[in-house]
């Protein structure tokens, strides 16, 4: 399972990376915004994307839309992990095709639950 973690704060990437390692996912990669993540995703055979929303450069929502618009990677499961918590934003992400949405601050249990749920649904 190859996972890309996209967040502009390295500490948050580190936290997510550690949590994923505890869950048994060791093949994790990092990017600090949408514009650096997109070329990595297009060339890297990733199985899962975890992205923040609020990032300089390309935001997470734009990254999500770009992923869904690209036929090579449009099936990639995407989990949004973000402090953006307005209803309009969650609806926007849902309409853009997000697979899960976790609001910060979050717990290890929440992250695990959402990841498992996504995989169950995808099968």
């Amino acid at each position: 399972m190859k996972i890309l973690i996209v967040d502009d704060f390295s500490t948050m990437r580190r936290i997510i990376k550690n949590l994923l390692r505890d869950l048994g996912f060791t093949n994790t990669h990092e990017a600090d915004d949408g514009s650096t993540a997109l070329p990595v995703l297009r060339s890297g055979n990733f199985d899962f994307l975890i992205s923040d929303w609020n990032m300089p450069g390309m935001t997470g929502i734009d990254l999500l839309k770009a992923v869904r618009a690209d036929p090579r990677i449009n099936k990639l499961p995407v989990l949004m992990v973000t402090a953006e918590s307005k209803r309009e934003q969650i609806i926007e992400a849902a309409q853009a095709g997000v697979n899960g949405y976790v609001v910060k601050p979050f717990t290890a249990a929440t992250l695990e639950e959402k990841i498992k749920k996504i995989f169950e649904r995808i099968g």
Binding site: T11, A83, S85, V102
Partner: protein
Amino acid sequence: MFDELTGSIPASILPAEADEIGKINDLNEKSPQQLWQDRRITQVEELLALYQTGQMEQGEKLLREMSGAGDAFDLFREIGRLTRELHDNIHAVLEDERLFKLAHKEIPDVTERLKHVIEMTEQAANNTLSAVEAGLPKIEHLRGQIHQLQSDWQRFRLRQMTFEEFRILVPCLSEFLKSAESDAQEIGRCMTDIMMAQDFQDLTGQIIRRVIGLVQDVEVKLVQIIRVSGAKIPEIQFFATESPIQAMGPATPSVDQNAVACQDDVDDLLSSLGF
């Protein structure tokens, strides 16, 4: 000139008119509006009389006067007064020491201070994570050794252990006690590091409190400037133009509306959308 356009008399030019008319009318009994009307009626009557008696030149002069020359004078005087007032107010703002200090020193400073807050919190998070990453393998190591010794100890208590095995167990036990002590010391150090990393809360809290004070000062000064410029402060419409999906970071309770309170709310919202 104003009354034709707006249907009313500019309040600012009324006192001068009223003074003039006061010579022929009773100032105490009539409203400025009535005085204005009286004056106009008198002027029209005079004008009619002038034209009827063939005094065309004087008639034209009066007509010009009626069509605004006198009003224009008052208007210019009023503009002059307002300009002076504005000038004084602008100078009062420009010479305000607090505002000068805010603009030249404190606002540039605050940017640095806030950057420092980000650095400190990042440092604290990294220190904590490093300590956890250093401590976890020690705990893992301890657990592994304990697991091994437990089964040996069990066999020893049940007298299932040969003397030869016991001879091997003894140095293992000594080794474990020694390494357990050093692991525990190491874990203790990690815990202390984690504890110490939390000092950012105090440090950044102080800086942020200072920034809040500064923002309040700026707010007061901005309101003063808006008052001087005479502009009306529009209601909350500023925010209406903000896109609801614009990223804006963590929601602050009591500031941000329409934000979900917790993960359960997110889940409810998503399930209502068919997720």
